[in-house]
Symmetry: C3
């Protein structure tokens, strides 16, 4: 196969049916240039605080992107060849050009995947390439990207402007000093780059560093975290600090959606077991469940939106985890139950219309069976967009097809990019906008909605519902 | 947004692809005017017995429709504001006009839901509106509907004629006196409005009123229900009474599809435990399972079709249940297992070709994995249509796409409206007919069926298979 | 309905949308005439060894096809009427013409099923019929098929040529003498008809004949199978014999995907329990799990590809099993878990890039949730095509739609026909090719792939990836 042209067709992701496509085009025209609101993600706040140029194509585009290297790894390329840092200090490939060449040579593996859509968009729209990435174009790509990254207009803040990002939320652990967000104060970017409170490190007693984290929590807050009330007070203080750094939301990445509602005494006793390091696996799960309910209670107090991202079996591949650490593409979704799991929390707080709890899932079987019926009833619940492996054209279509008839549109919250791949953010939002317009166009073409209604909904899904759910502006 | 026109496009729910659409149109023309056969539903038999005019738009269209108020509730409107009766006697909104206005103002919440399709059809076809419901048209709607409801041609029997309903089955508990069906005798409607035997109240030992119900069962039948044989004899008598009031089917709404096949002695002993009020949760589940098998046995004796509707977690929201009672939009589907659960019943009766057991599900993952393979093998099994949350265009399409290749069409039983919303019945059947024609048209367009075959199937799905499965005519 | 014409439309299974259809046509033109590679199936090797003419339409087309008679049985036709052999010796219908007539009369039951597609293709392409099968054409069909089957050009090897089958793999148990494959040596067909090693009979201690099989394994190999090391040595020897008869793969049909990784001592002790006949159900499941891991280890040694086909609840209908034996259409899929189940095996061997483990499923909910994420990470894993009940147009589309975005195309292995219905093999591969081209055409029409890339992928899915995964040529 010769070097192919790289084009981004203006109708990409729209169906070829001319009736649906024309409606989708018209809807998309109305919302395509709206500013990006990114209320949940994992970009590095130091980028925006320091505003330094990025170094090179490989360390910006490949090394942090587990979507990319998991696919290469699945086809027999070692993580060492890809330059992924080994925790045991064994040397790995350090020639970034060579790594980029391996990636380019295997770019065909991404055919049919969302990574391909995002990467092509970055290559075309951000860097201006008009030939597709392949073995033959690898060096040209590598040199050209590096040269462009060195320019002032490729600094993080300049790209924030260029990408028309109105707001971006990063995610920090409860013990984070938030120094990068602090550094943004006075820069004019402090309301545009905000943090999110992710307390898994001080809530999940299964973590190896849990006991140490509880001690750090005491240092940071001046509270006595050796007792339940002091621990809760410390969490309240950290939430307040996060809110001072812009946070409007919390995030919780538990293995399951299990919740509990213990008496104060039982919760206090369970906490003592957990910080003693002697808690069983069942007790730790119970504690996580109790803490989700506690967090919902605190959200009702301080108004922060609560995000629940359950269901990932983290670090499934022990060999990879031992050698390279977490987040190396070896997290695997598992079947996730919500109806029983959320009952204690919902019994306590589900009828609170002022509370915003956003549920996500990696188990699509729950869309129509559990999540849409729950969100279509409980005032406190909304549904987050198709997540992680399902953040893709087909995944988004399944989400809308399976959720809308029971939950409607107004119990959903628009799009989250949830990414650490900053340069791909415009492409990711563009995919979501196109797919939403396509879905709406289908309803219009089948006379289930008027085009005027679809236009209103396209705006809501892109902007209105996002801001409402995350309490922005 | 201005007041929009309300139109029902003749091609609604058909795809825009001209090839498929044209075939769908032709198939639909052949069956759209066939009489409605509604073999399973929850309309109030007193309507047809008394034939009184309905009172007003709110109490007819909104208050009984949990699809409607669950959505409004999910968006922060209280059930009190919607005039839903509180069991504790606390006053709720009683201004029906005001309730209708709230509904109208929030009508946009239903965009993309089947309620919107049904309601628009009722507004347009039954009441003749040509502007869409919204805040501005609320009063006009309310006044006009009320005025029309007062007319003789809007009495229940007149609408039965106008809607071309050939037969409608209501659903009554085993202890019901069936007085409304008795009153219909001699009216010419007794074969058109029939009952269905739903014995959950005397079979489910988990119900608070179970022991009382068993006592009432004795009174009604003259059988000694304090022993197993007397209990079974009483059930046989009630089944006979229901058959005298037209019933051709039973209905069973258990939390799971679990069945059992105990020895007579074990069953008798278990029954004693249940009526003593001392049975454990496990024993009650075992008893429900045993009773499904007993009911199948009685169906084989008396010829009644058996419907199994498992998998709803009833009254998930305790706050709402305590305040407003059951059926308030807080029933949530759960994962449902059929392969192990049905084995005891199927071992005993599954090979009986004379038996008609119709399985429903709220767990769509079982369509292709469990239900179609079971129904495509066991002579006694057929599959009911997409149910409840899945009684929707997308839900019906998923049903056909996932069931047909393994179970074919002839192991399915056409459509059930399963509704208490009488005025929406024509719209609901019309949605089903359109979606079936659309699905069939897709097969024809892809040369998987001839159009002649598709026409035959459209008739079967609308009428032939319904009458066969429910033994009508 | 009159007798209808039987035609196979050149665009069958392509969508009617002209843009997608035209791309699909072009892609299909490029690959439709490629030789058939059938790396997994259940045809009878004696056909190719003996090369005798088949006897009649009924015993060739109906009696071995459980897809066909399960559907007829589900609609009230007894297996006795269909001439299925009873194990208790009770006479069944032996008039093959009469059986064929019953089938013909009920051919409408297969509308919308893949059996209909395959059978119509066989009738039209293999036997030249131009009228559809129905009651009126039954005798003509029966006589004509029988007459054709008697001709030399309908002998098995002649059809192998006519069907352009480059390679076909049969499946034999570990104790099979492989005499038919041995007979093929020197015929020129020995590399074209190969065996597959299926050791369930000597691995699954739940089988009634397990202990006897272990004794036979000793006889066949000369190893002392009364101890763990001798048993493993015997298995290695059998694998070697199978490889001498062409095998490049093993196959494992366990009820679940459970795997284990015991110490050598624990495994040896467990084996002793199993051959003593005293193992509990849990121990037998543990043994099956351990043996999957052992088999993966041997595959790493001898290079055989390993196929895992879990999740069928075999012989669900005890009445049918007792009367007619296994494989009578009463196997029902069950929910299948992979993430925990495969962890022991993957921990030990999942990172081996030289190992080829092909996973299949009957539980489609695992495609996007578990299987694609696993195969998109572990070098040893690939995904087999849509299997059994899902080997159908809709099933294949669901597979591609749900798998591709996470696993890509290159972690899949093309098509398996997995059939004992030899005459339907061309039709089955044709369905797969058409559906793959249709899916690829959709991606091209939506500008997610170039047509050049799609062409390359169409070739890979038809031939390249099959040969790579099964190590052919």
């Amino acid at each position: 196969m010769n070097v192919q042209r790289l084009t981004l067709h203006p109708d990409r992701l729209f169906p070829s049916d001319p009736v649906v496509r024309d409606i989708a085009r018209r809807l998309y025209q109305q919302i395509k240039d709206l500013p990006i609101v990114s209320p949940h993600g994992h970009t590095d706040p130091s980028w925006f605080a320091d505003n330094a140029n990025w170094d090179n194509a490989t360390s910006l585009l490949l090394l942090p992107d587990h979507y990319v290297f998991r696919m290469l790894y699945s086809q027999g390329i070692t993580l060492e060849e890809l330059g992924i840092h080994r925790e045991d200090g064994v040397a790995v490939e350090s020639d970034y050009r060579k790594i980029f060449q391996i990636f380019a040579k295997h770019y065909h593996l991404f055919r049919g995947t969302p990574s391909r859509l995002w990467l092509d968009s970055v290559f075309h729209d951000v860097f201006g390439f008009t030939k597709m990435l392949c073995e033959d174009t690898a060096n040209h790509y590598y040199d050209s990207i590096n040269a462009q990254l060195a320019k002032p207009e490729f600094k993080p803040r300049a790209l924030l402007e260029r990408f028309n990002i109105e707001l971006i939320a990063t995610t920090e652990g409860a013990l984070n000093d938030l120094k990068h967000h602090a550094a943004l104060k006075g820069s004019g970017f402090e309301t545009r780059v905000i943090t999110t409170f992710r307390p898994d490190d001080v809530i999940d007693a299964d973590r190896e560093d849990f006991v140490r984290n509880i001690a750090k929590l005491a240092e940071l807050t001046g509270e006595d975290t050796q007792n339940w009330q002091g621990y809760l007070a410390a969490l309240r203080k950290r939430r307040a600090v996060f809110r001072e750094h812009g946070a409007t939301a919390t995030d919780h990445g538990h293995p399951t959606a299990f919740t509990a509602d213990l008496t104060m005494n039982d919760a206090a006793a369970l906490y003592q077991r957990c910080i003693s390091g002697k808690a069983s696996a069942t007790e730790k799960e119970l504690f996580r469940g109790q803490m989700l309910t506690e967090m919902a209670g605190m959200s009702l107090e301080d108004g922060m939106t609560m995000q629940i991202h359950p269901g990932a079996h983290r670090n499934h591949n022990k060999v990879i985890f031992d050698r390279f650490g977490p987040d190396k593409g070896a997290d695997i979704p598992s079947a996730t139950e919500y109806v029983q799991a959320l009952k204690p929390l919902l019994h306590k707080y589900g009828n609170e219309a002022k509370l915003n709890i956003i549920l996500f899932t990696l188990d699509e079987t729950t869309y129509a069976r559990e999540l849409a019926p729950l969100a279509g009833h409980y005032p406190a619940l909304k549904l987050g967009p198709a997540w992680w492996f399902h953040d893709s054209p087909e995944g988004m279509l399944r989400f809308r097809h399976q959720v809308t008839e029971t939950a409607g549109f107004y119990n959903t919250v628009g799009f989250n990019d949830d990414t650490r791949a900053f340069l791909s953010i415009p492409a990711r939002h563009d995919v979501a906008r196109r797919i939403d317009c396509r879905f709406l166009a289908g309803l219009v073409a089948e006379h289930r909605l008027t085009e005027e209604e679809a236009g209103e909904l396209a705006y809501e899904l892109t902007s209105g519902l996002v801001k409402k759910a995350y309490q922005l502006k």
